[in-house]
Symmetry: C2
Subunit: 230 residues, 2 copies
DNA sequence: TTATTTATCAATCCAAAGATGTAGGACAAA
DNA sequence: TTTGTCCTACATCTTTGGATTGATAAATAA
């Protein structure tokens, strides 16, 4: 199968020269891959990525000089249509999570068998995202952990459900940073009416001011949130 | 291996009676599992879960009567030490994401081979989280998609980096809903000093009031966020 | 029908927040 | 030493926000 496909161009970035050489030799043995560059410097790696436009980058993320995760992020911003596989010595859940979060298409441990790396590259070259089973499990533990409390509270009796439709509209505008005047203008009602609604919202949510109301809303599933944990 | 371990108690919830029967027969053939209950009703399933305390629940999440995801969430709130595997006819990324988010330990398609289901149960019974490779890939596509914009902006010129250490402390307290007095008390400085800091923060973040500052902070990776997309 | 809820608006009052200018002391870099 | 930044603090003033009370009209539930 793989033999008939066009070769994938690979760039290697790993501050450990020995490991870099080893991986290079390994991949060179694979007919479906062509190593177009190899460097021990993250910054140099970014430059090589711009220059050679590889299909795949194998990026060591445990580098002292420059953080590999940061390098992945920077490469991501370049819109190079390159797929990055993170290489790491550690199966730390937080590392895995962060790597996947910033768009790594795979995460492979350096201690894994070389066949596993090649398999990951095959999958990623085919447009998939690949994580070894054991790491997937780690990832999900971390992932679910970050939602643990939310899962318990969100379906619960949540004061937000006491709000009327109009109050929800007002709260929504509050969560967008509007003041009374802004809300009044957007809802075509008077400022005093808005004040009335906002005061009712405070009562119902049991908060003292708009900032607390906004925080309550955001922390309890109100409004569209698109971000996650650091 | 499995034969020597204590049997895992399984509860089946699936509104499709035929499929329910099929799965039950399948699992009954496995010596390591004991089906302690089977029902076509999500609500009944929750009651059975409370009553029999199964080790594993296979939950169909595509039920008309009651949403299976909601049922998983409710079971999660009971703290029953039960592991739920979601069964679904669809490999929709959003469904998978939501199921995993609320704590499902696995997600298996009804169309998958029975061996796959048993394998998933084995893994989950062993304390792991199991997602078939194909679904893992879907999950990650969805996952990374929800971070796409953030990945591009967060490393970018972010006004938060202009803040001094003290200002960050103040902003952090703002994002917790504190007013001037509260912040002054917590930092052991005068209220007027807090005002100075806050005003400087407004300048640097280019916002007009505390609510906008808090929203900016939350939307730009500042502070501990534990929530994600709806 | 009668109550209740909801949405609207207003007046008033006080507290809090925000804008602006000034300034001293600590500390680090040039 | 000088310069600059940061943290601290205060005074003053204006604006906004929040609490409270009261009122009208429409829709809705009992």
């Amino acid at each position: 199968m793989r033999e008939f496909k066009r070769q994938s161009r690979v760039l290697l970035i790993d501050d450990n020269a020995d490991h870099l050489r080893g991986v290079k030799e390994l991949i060179t043995l694979e007919s479906s891959y062509d190593v177009v560059g190899a460097t021990t410097s993250a910054n140099m790696g970014i430059n090589l990525a711009k220059k050679y436009r590889p299909d795949i980058i194998l990026m060591d993320i445990n580098m002292p000089e420059k953080d590999g995760l940061q390098a992945i992020q920077e490469i991501g911003k370049l819109d190079l249509d390159v797929r990055v596989i993170a290489l790491s010595a550690y199966d730390d859940a937080d590392l895995i999570f962060r790597a996947m979060k910033i768009g790594a298409k795979g995460y492979v441990l350096k201690t894994m068998a070389s066949a596993q790396l090649i398999y990951a590259m095959d999958e990623v070259a085919a447009g998939k995202i690949y994580l070894p089973t054991a790491l997937t499990s780690r990832f999900f533990e971390y992932f679910q952990n970050s939602f643990k409390e939310e899962a318990k509270t969100s379906a619960e009796e949540n004061l937000l459900s006491d709000l009327t439709a109009r109050e929800e509209e007002v709260l929504d505008l509050l969560t967008q940073g509007n003041n009374y005047k802004g809300i009044a203008g957007k809802l075509f009602i008077s400022e005093t009416t808005v004040k009335t609604h906002v005061n009712n919202i405070f009562q119902k949510l049991q908060v003292n001011d708009r900032t607390q109301a906004v925080l309550y809303a955001l922390n309890n599933g109100f409004a569209q949130r698109r971000k996650i944990v650091a």
